[in-house]
Symmetry: C2
Subunit: 202 residues, 2 copies
């Protein structure tokens, strides 16, 4: 299965462990590509890689952890958003916008974020994979927290504003947005996010 | 220059005219790619194509017309937005969101819109070209109409919300957004756009 025979001169981690990690990454990439984010299972990935499911969890944690590591995700909203949602409700909009911008202001995270966005949008096969991850790990969590019948639509609307901000500032680099400070953008955009979160349905 | 020798059996428009159009399209594509949207000039394109500038204008109109035709633009906001801005100021947010969604609901426009978005975001070379077109023909027009010192930032913020909506609904196809009606989305999103247009600076 693995085409990566380690050279004899290789040092560092024992051969077996490194091979298992590489097999898992290869297997997970195939499983996510074929079945989508929701369809992929940790059991299926372990089976493809020929490793024990316990070993898979030991190396990579949850399915979201594994996906995040494979795509080089610049942020892990599945970890941060619950923390934000646990804070004061009237500050959630601001906290989300500030968190996302603070992450993307870091050069390495921005570089990877732009790459993920370019790939997910430019490549037809990659699009549903990112959409599946976002739906499950980000929008689903926000919706569960909002708890109203229209919660899924509300969390989707938050995604439109945040994704559009990242796209226009960091990918398209539209001048006034690319030059504005984080504080300025937070002050402008946070009320839109907050409105999607808690305004009455129109 | 042209590699397109028309087959002898070809009928329809006279050969010379068709050749000139094709040369213009080839020349314009090269000019836009090399110099960007702002740097490209109708004079430069006419020169590359070896046609008279008057002929170029006769066939293709303005630079925005020519660009729109080359990229297969699904909408021409440079034509529609001034009309919207001339209407009642308190309805501009709603009119923009409704116009954009109504266009993208048409299958052929949607197909081309998705293609333009995938190309402009997925292809590093195409990104500044679309950004240049949007800055000049769309954001610049809205900003000129707003007229305040922060008008460019305001029009950029409108772009974040509208682009994010198109991306999430039509490209990523996030479930609640993809399934919502146009009316429902207009009711939710228009106030955000209106706020960027006329709310006091934060």
């Amino acid at each position: 299965m693995s085409e990566h025979a380690a050279p004899a001169r290789r040092r560092g981690r024992p051969r077996g462990r490194s091979d298992a990690r590489q097999r898992i990454v290869t297997a997970a990439t195939a499983e996510f590509s074929e079945l989508g984010y929701d369809g992929a299972t940790m059991r299926g990935i372990a089976g493809r890689a020929g490793v024990d499911a316990a070993l898979l969890h030991h190396y990579f944690g949850t399915k979201a952890d594994l996906f995040g590591e494979i795509v080089g995700a610049p942020m892990r909203p599945d970890l941060k958003i619950p923390e934000i949602l646990a804070g004061p409700r009237e500050q959630v909009g601001e906290a989300i916008v500030r968190y996302v911008l603070d992450v993307w202001e870091q050069p390495e995270a921005r570089r990877r974020g732009i790459l993920v966005m370019r790939t997910a949008i430019g490549n037809k096969l990659a699009t549903p994979l990112l959409a599946g991850f976002l739906s499950r790990e980000l929008l689903g969590r926000i919706a569960a927290d909002i708890g109203t019948p229209d919660a899924e639509l509300r969390s989707g609307l938050i995604a439109t504003q945040v994704a559009g901000l990242l796209l226009a500032r960091y990918v398209l680099r539209l001048a006034p947005l690319a030059d504005a400070s984080v504080d300025e953008l937070v002050a402008w955009v946070a009320p839109s996010v907050q409105r999607y979160l808690d305004a009455p349905s129109p």
